[in-house]
């Protein structure tokens, strides 16, 4: 279900308008309805009051509504007499006025005896059947002068007579005839003594005539102060107790009581029947309200039509009224939606000076501000982005630099600690002998030959120690990047090579060093000692890293350079390690070389020295097959020599 919250303003306005108009329509309809109703009913009521007066006037002269009651009382009292079946008072049109059997009041008495009596005006009696029972009936006419007003009928029960023996019946019949005549006669005379009997009968007539003549009156009922119906156009009601609301109310003192009886479509007006100041009974007049009802339904239909038109007009009106309000709001809403979607160029049209116009102006201001601040933010973010980018680049650069430095430092520090560890080992090994044997010499009683031997050990190891210390000092000099003192002069590399190879005794290294040298090698400009160290380092390695096999030392010219290359058939170097062997402190880490002491500076020194001679390095190696490492120094030109 759609709640009021979800409705658009226009719908709300339309609904409010429609509701208002429906309300107004209903109100006017209700007003006219009530007015119609009231005027109709007051008409009838007014009529009833007039009628009541007329009735009262016609009855007042007769003074004696009570007599009518007395008549009925008389009839009923007489009926109680032993042997009497029933008593009837009949008017001159054969209509029963009062009867033992009250319900018969108003009926037309149809017995032949009655018509006989009324026509001829004399006493008749005879056997008759009443209510299915055999009776002996006597009818005595009621007269005023010569005028026949009606008749009195008295019926005797025949039970005793019929049960009696025939002989006795005659006697009984005679007695009955006599009794009944007396009774009828006395009744008739007592009624005749009620001076107004004729007038009483007249009331019923009056009622009948009024009903017949008036088109709008459908019922008139006269009720005595004991609620007994005296006269009514509906004869079946005469003599009965009227117990409807109106009668009761009036008997209890109301001046007038009106009500609609929709089931019978009548409008009932009950009023007291007063003669003089005396309350005598109730006059109840029923008006035909069919017209009223049809009229009302017509009004109702008309009202519905009016309401329908009202609704339609309300909708139209609501549209008419709401459009000028809603349209700008709708336009503003559309524009706002666009704005919300990110279109900051939108502009609301300002078509009026009212609140909506103000809103539109404020909106435009806001959109402008928004666009401006967005632009500002965009510009700012752009410069920010650039700044960030720039800073990031700078940072990346410095990070890169830092990383490089860090890597270098780490490598250096790692190499250094490894160097320290190796140096420590290299130093400790000879020191062990020096310390150990000297302690033995000091603390033990030793033989002369033992003493001699131990002193020898100490001497050997001391020499070694000093050598190692020299090496370490060399290394530390390179470490601190201090250039050696180079002394370059034109030399033949073959001479240096030969000198160096002689240094290795075959017995000591357990193999030969084969030299393979081109003859008449050109001279190079070099520091003899340093190049000697280079060659020595290369041969050292060839020995250290090849368990066996000859070592070949070559000297040749290639690409305008004099080359020295040392070849072994040793463990070789893996492809991955080749680029690093000339790095400071680099040593291949593998089982085969773990026990071989070294500082990883041999080849670094080689590279350093060769580079200083503007030379070139070359390395060829294969794991398990052997290594060839060589260097080439530029051939010394004649021009250079002459200089």
């Amino acid at each position: 279900m759609i709640s009021l919250k979800d409705m658009k303003i226009q719908t709300k306005i339309i609904m409010a308008m429609v509701l208002l108009l429906i309300f107004i329509g209903l109100l006017s309809f209700w007003a006219s309805y009530m007015h119609e109703k009231k005027s109709l009913l007051t008409n009838m009521q007014h009529n009833a009051v007039i009628l009541n007066h007329a009735l009262i006037i016609s009855i007042t002269n007769q003074k004696s509504i009570a007599e009518k009651v007395n008549l009925q009382t008389l009839v009923e009292e007489l009926s109680l007499t032993e042997g009497i079946f029933g008593v009837w008072v009949i008017d001159n049109s054969s209509r029963i006025t009062s009867a033992t059997f009250r319900e018969q009041a108003g009926e037309v008495a149809s017995s032949y005896l009655i018509s006989d009596a009324l026509q001829n005006g004399y006493y008749v009696s005879g056997f008759d059947t009443k209510l299915g029972e055999q009776v002996y009936s006597a009818i005595y006419p009621l007269k005023k002068g010569n005028k026949i007003l009606g008749a009195v009928e008295v019926a005797f029960e025949l039970r005793e007579y019929l049960n009696a023996q025939t002989s006795h019946r005659i006697h009984l019949a005679a007695q009955m005839k006599r009794d009944i005549r007396i009774m009828a006669e006395s009744l008739s005379s007592s009624i005749e003594k009620m001076q107004y009997i004729n007038e009483l009968i007249h009331i019923q007539r009056l009622v009948d005539r009024l009903c017949a003549e008036s088109e709008i009156i459908s019922r008139i009922m006269i009720v005595d102060d004991n609620s007994r119906t005296i006269a009514c156009n509906d004869l079946s009601r005469v003599g009965t107790i009227a117990d409807d609301k109106g009668v009761k109310a009036v008997i209890n003192g109301a001046d007038i009581y009106t009500r609609l009886a929709p089931s019978q479509k009548i409008y009932l007006v009950d009023m007291p029947l007063r003669i003089g100041d005396e309350f005598k009974g109730v006059v109840s007049i029923g008006y035909d309200a069919r017209d009223y009802y049809t009229h009302l339904s017509e009004i109702f239909r008309f009202g519905s039509l009016i309401s329908g038109i009202g609704v339609l007009m309300g909708i139209l009106l609501a549209f008419q009224v709401s459009n000028p309000i809603i349209k700008p709001i709708q336009r503003l809403t559309d524009v706002t939606k666009k704005l919300a979607r990110g279109d900051l160029t939108v502009k609301a049209s300002v078509s009026s000076r009212d609140e909506i116009g103000t809103l539109a102006i404020a909106f435009n201001q806001m959109a402008e501000d928004l666009a401006r601040s967005k632009e500002e933010i965009y510009q700012y973010s752009k410069t920010l982005e650039q700044k960030v980018k720039q800073r990031t680049q700078e940072l990346e650069l410095s990070n890169q630099e830092l990383r490089e430095i860090q890597n270098e430092l780490m490598e250096a520090s790692m190499a250094k600690s490894e160097f320290m560890s190796i140096a420590s080992h290299e130093l400790r090994t000879p020191l062990t002998s020096v310390l150990g044997y000297s302690e033995l010499l000091l603390t033990r009683d030793l033989t002369e030959s033992q003493k001699k031997e131990f002193f020898g050990f100490i001497n050997e190891e001391s020499v070694l120690l000093s050598k190692i210390i020299d090496d370490l000092l060399d290394i530390s000099r390179i470490e601190s990047q201090k250039a050696f003192g180079f002394v370059k002069k034109p030399v033949n590399l073959a001479d240096i090579l030969l000198k160096d190879t002689k240094y290795y005794s075959r017995a000591e290294i357990g193999r030969r060093i084969i030299t393979d040298m081109e003859e008449n090698l050109p001279l190079v400009n070099a520091d003899e000692e340093k190049i000697g160290q280079v060659i020595k380092n290369l041969i050292d390695n060839a020995i250290k890293y090849s368990p066996s096999g000859d070592i070949i030392a070559k000297a040749f010219v290639k690409d305008n350079k004099v080359w020295i290359a040392i070849q072994d058939h040793g463990i070789g170097i893996s492809q991955k390690d080749i680029p690093h062997v000339f790095d400071k402190f680099f040593r291949v880490k593998q089982k085969e070389t773990a026990h071989i002491s070294g500082t990883g500076l041999g080849l670094a020194i080689v590279k350093y020295i060769v580079e200083f001679h503007d030379g070139e390095l070359d390395i060829k190696s294969k794991l398990g097959e052997g290594t060839t490492i060589g260097f080439g120094l530029p051939v010394l030109k004649d021009r250079d020599l002459n200089e």
């Binding site: 420590s424 400790r428 062990t432 002998s433 150990g436 302690e439 033995l440 050990f457 026990h595």
Partner: protein, 121 residues
């Protein structure tokens, strides 16, 4: 008689240990490489092994120590690492491989003797 094995590639060091311990009643066995030391240790089950770390060949001192300590038959041998590698990390590596003691080169022969006496008693 107690057996002591000395494993070191340096002959001078082996000899130093041998002479140092010669005054005690011990039998001195010698090996010049890790492989040889391992072989002799398994064959003779010495009471103590003095084991050098940096040696040529397939096994260094740490390898030998580990192999002996993993083998139930040789697990109980008291192993003293004898090495020129005096740094803390090296010591830790030595103990990690199961060594019982550590002796740094250069060492005093008297101290070595005292240590061995202590172990044997």
């Amino acid at each position: 008689m107690n057996k002591i094995l000395i494993v070191d590639d340096e002959e001078k060091v082996r000899k130093l240990v041998e002479i140092t311990l010669s005054i005690g009643k011990v039998e001195i066995l010698q090996a010049s490489s890790g492989e040889e030391g391992l072989k002799i240790a398994r064959e003779t089950r010495p009471d103590i092994i003095l084991l050098d770390v940096m040696m040529p060949g397939r096994f260094d001192g740490f390898d030998v120590c580990k192999l002996l300590k993993e083998d139930p038959a040789t697990r109980d041998i008291y192993i003293i690492m004898l090495t020129a590698k005096g740094q803390k990390a090296d010591k830790e590596k030595g103990f990690a491989s199961g060594a019982d003691d550590y002796f740094v080169k250069p060492f005093s022969p008297m101290e070595l003797m005292e240590k061995i006496d202590k172990v044997l008693s």
